[in-house]
Amino acid sequence: MRRLLIKGGRVLDPAENVDAVLDVLVEDDRVSAVGVDLSAEAEVLDASGLLVCPGFIDMHVHLRDPGEEYKEDMASGTRAAARGGFTAIACMPNTQPVIDNRALVEALLRKTQNMGCVRVYPICALSKGQKGEELAELADMRQAGAVAASDDGHPVQNGQLMRLALDYLRPFDMPVINHAEDKSLTEGAVMHEGSVSTLLGLRGMPAEAEELMVARDLMLARLTGGRLHIPHVSTKGAVELIAAYKSQGFKVTCEVAPHHLLLTDKIVRETWYDTNTKVNPPLRSLEHVEALHQAIKEGVIDAIASDHAPHHQDDKLVEYDYAAFGISGLETSVGLMARRLVHEGSLSWADLIRLYSLHPARILNVEGGSLAQGVRADITIIAPELEGTVTAQAFASKGRNTPFEGWKFKGAPWGTVVGGDVVMWEGRLTGGNKVT
């Protein structure tokens, strides 16, 4: 039996209401005890001064594998996740081919077992080929291990298809995730529509393009009773709509991406069209960013997810209109959010852990979010006061596309334990693989 003893850390487990300096004993892939001064013949990790948390889950990741391995692949993407403090990620199906049938879900899971160093939960396509025409075999893929259905990258424009997906998946308790964008309002658009886009001469996406679709999807969730999850919420109107539906008791959840909390559209002008600022949904104006912070405080936002979208330099070192959308976010998420939301904001560490661990686990209906005795030993360890600087060159991800180069973080991932395996420690990958 393999034993791992994590000694002397501040164990923070909001699900179990635990916040105390305790030891955590892991036997094989399970937590066997959490208590004071545990001793065992075991590999020991000294966690004094560190936060020991249930494993963080980034529920919105583009792994690019299969098909675009030059941007990211299973190995590099999961290493980036481990380095970023995540024990698990959910990956989007807009690969080549699109993950839209059981065989592809199974192939992805096999690849995870062979090459992944954190847990990977596949999100399957909602429609065949992500074409937005007819439902994919969603229940079959659910059975094979898919955790949610999404045409991410290809927002569902057809209301009837969205209705059918929500309705059909209700008995399978599988969330539908829809990138909320009315494409008829965003043709050729590359940033947020407002004074900055006007002055730069770039086509803008109005906030309303997102809000209209959020409103539609909420109404369809109400109509069907299906489970809706709204990814990367970025506008004031969208969070207001979500808050209103939540207060009426509807089954809706949402996530926000760190870049939407940290940057405004002004950065596009300040950097004179740096394509690392190009992302969809776009970086919004200040009133929207402030509304997102307010929504986090009020508990309207359920999760933080990076929308990790790694790209090769060839896809970014081009004219703004031609550049790919997306930010490589796995390795900056926790450090930047800890600084902004905990050290400089009003969130507690427990609040942050809910957003990164407990809530994503619940939304995806996967094991995790707790460190109670007997649970799977997926553990994230944070150095709460550690300060440093974002350096894209140090990323494990192949995608170095970040607008946060040189930014200061405070509070950073220190250790990642997946199923009892230490895959990252002292901020460095150990080369270990998870046990599956």
């Binding site: 886009s197 001469g201 770039l202 004179w272 081009v318 004219e319 031609y322």
Partner: protein, 308 residues
């Protein structure tokens, strides 16, 4: 006196004293254009390349003649818009040109921000000859030069820009330049063609033409891109002309000495009537001449003539 930047990318980032310097220098360049032998040896041994990713008649010819009149060597590369994405990247093309020893790249490109992007990756100078909807700084400068020659000043002038300012780099460069030089800028167009949000910039925006023309010292008419109609931004050229076309009747609202300008090419009978375009108050041909003078001034100031 050198310019603050080795590049000319837009008028937003150009200091007002640089604009004034360029306009002053252009006065003496215009004198050269009036000579029977229009050639000075000032830029002998310098070379430049015009790199145009969009069609152009006057801007490109203007730059190339400006270079020849100053004795610089120029080459031109035209890239069909349709092959941009398939073929060589902009940076590779630019590096290739630089590797041949070119001192300056003058680029026109359909994507906003391309000149800023290019300027970060080349050793030589970059002049923006129009990037998407963003900027056309030499057009802004030549328009201001023309106004100043006729009216003696820029400060305090009421300049009304008529037409599709939403999509117009000419409008943006006029706006930034004129604001910095102390003019009052107005814009008039159908509301679907007006800039969405100019933030806290001091620009008066009108969705009807008549109030914008009242007392105007200069009316700068923009070309109406007829393809905008296909995207539904206005119902028809006929209706546009009926409500927003600049004609003699409407110009009675403007100052009696009003100048009428147009960057070309014109749609006669749509945004501007032929009677107005060919009237004495029109500076349209003169703008073209001034364009050469202003570009000669820029080449002189950027390619090291100024430090001799």
């Amino acid at each position: 006196m050198k310019l603050a930047s080795r590049h000319v990318l837009d008028l937003e980032t150009m200091p007002a004293e640089d604009m004034k310097n360029i306009l002053d220098t252009a006065e003496s360049m215009k004198e050269i254009l009036g000579r029977s032998i229009k050639k000075v040896p000032t830029l002998r041994g310098k070379s430049l390349c015009t790199l145009f990713y969009e069609p152009s008649t006057r801007t490109r010819a203007s730059f190339e003649l400006a270079a020849k009149y100053m004795s610089a060597d120029s080459i031109s590369i035209a890239t069909a818009t349709s092959s941009i994405k398939k073929g060589e990247t902009l940076l590779d093309t630019a590096r290739t040109i630089e590797a041949m020893g070119v001192d300056m790249i003058i680029m026109r490109h359909p994507v906003s921000g391309s000149s800023h992007f290019l300027s970060r990756h080349v050793k030589g100078a970059v002049i923006n000859a129009g990037d998407g909807m963003h900027a056309h700084p030499t057009q802004g400068l030549l328009d201001m030069f023309t106004m100043r020659q006729h009216l003696g000043r820029l400060e305090g002038l009421k300049v009304t820009i008529v037409g599709d300012a939403l999509h117009s780099r000419v409008a943006r460069s006029n706006m930034w330049g004129l604001i910095k030089m102390g003019a009052q800028v107005c814009m008039a167009a159908p509301s679907t063609l007006l800039p969405l949000d100019l933030g806290d910039l001091d620009v008066k925006v009108y969705d009807r033409l008549e109030p914008a023309l009242e007392g105007a010292d200069v009316v700068n008419v923009l070309r109406l891109q007829l393809e905008r109609q296909k995207r539904g931004l206005f119902p028809s050229a006929r209706e546009y002309s009926q409500f927003y076309g600049v004609n003699q009747e409407r110009l009675k609202l403007a100052s009696p000495d009003v100048l009428v300008m147009h960057p070309g090419p014109m749609n006669r009978g749509v945004e501007i009537s032929t009677e107005v375009a060919d009237a004495p108050m029109s500076t349209i041909d003169e703008q073209v001449t001034n364009g050469v003078a202003v570009r000669m001034a820029l080449l002189y100031l950027l390619l090291g003539g100024a430090d001799e």
